[in-house]
């Protein structure tokens, strides 16, 4: 059984701590893949992203997606954390950590989680510009729908 840990939080995400959480004290883990999604400054014009989420459903969807991934790939541990609230450029928005004895399982589980999270987890990004204006809501990308769809073709 994979150890699944998910959280929706307004606190900074800790890559080193989460890596240690899936690997320390267990010498049966051979491969750890991490994905970190960072807030970009959009060529210097962005002051912050504000992440709105649907409390209750956001946690439930992330846990559902992590569980799907753990059923599909042979992972020993899978951690999925997502920020809400204000996030400034350079800060992490999302962190996925997949531990497995096989590197391809770790890579694919992490990538699957990200593709489904983009299209299914109820979060919305609003841009705040450095000049004090609100630049508006980030639009969803069709590429994200396509990225999710390819996992169905594989199945």
């Amino acid at each position: 059984m994979a150890l699944i840990r998910t959280a929706v939080t307004d606190a900074p995400l800790d890559l080193a701590g989460e890596f240690a959480g899936v690997s320390n004290g267990r010498a049966d883990v051979g491969a750890v893949v991490t994905f970190t999604g960072l807030c970009r400054d959009e060529d210097g014009r962005l002051e912050a992203l504000e992440l709105e989420h649907y409390p209750g459903m956001a946690e439930a969807e992330i846990t559902r997606i992590a569980t799907l991934a753990a059923e599909r790939w042979d992972v020993q541990a899978l951690t999925v954390l997502h920020r809400y609230g204000k996030v400034t450029p350079g800060e992490a928005i999302v962190l996925v950590v997949a531990a497995s004895s096989h590197r391809h399982a770790a890579f694919e589980a992490a990538e699957f989680v990200m593709d489904f999270l983009k299209t299914h987890a109820p979060f919305w990004k609003k841009e705040h510009a450095l000049d004090g204006s609100t630049a508006g809501w980030v639009e969803a990308r069709i590429a994200d729908d396509e990225a999710e769809a390819r996992w169905n073709k594989d199945a």
């Binding site: 709105e52 989420h53 649907y54 109820p122």
Partner: protein, 83 residues
Amino acid sequence: MKLLYFAWVRERIGLTDETVEPPAHIGTVGDLLGWLRTRGEGYEAALVEPEAIRVALDHDHAEHDASIVGIREVALFPPMTGG
């Protein structure tokens, strides 16, 4: 039935949530969106392109032809942009 709104749907309607009792003939998500549009300018601005609206019924994603009978919480929001 509790309604929740997120992102620009929330901003245009001007509410984070409300509790409504739709007429008895409102059976699907699509019916509900059509009925809400008649409730004022903010609703019309938010729902003018219904195909852009994503829906969750009691925390599960749903299509517009899904039944809302027996649902306690309906959330309306734009396509998600997390991650």
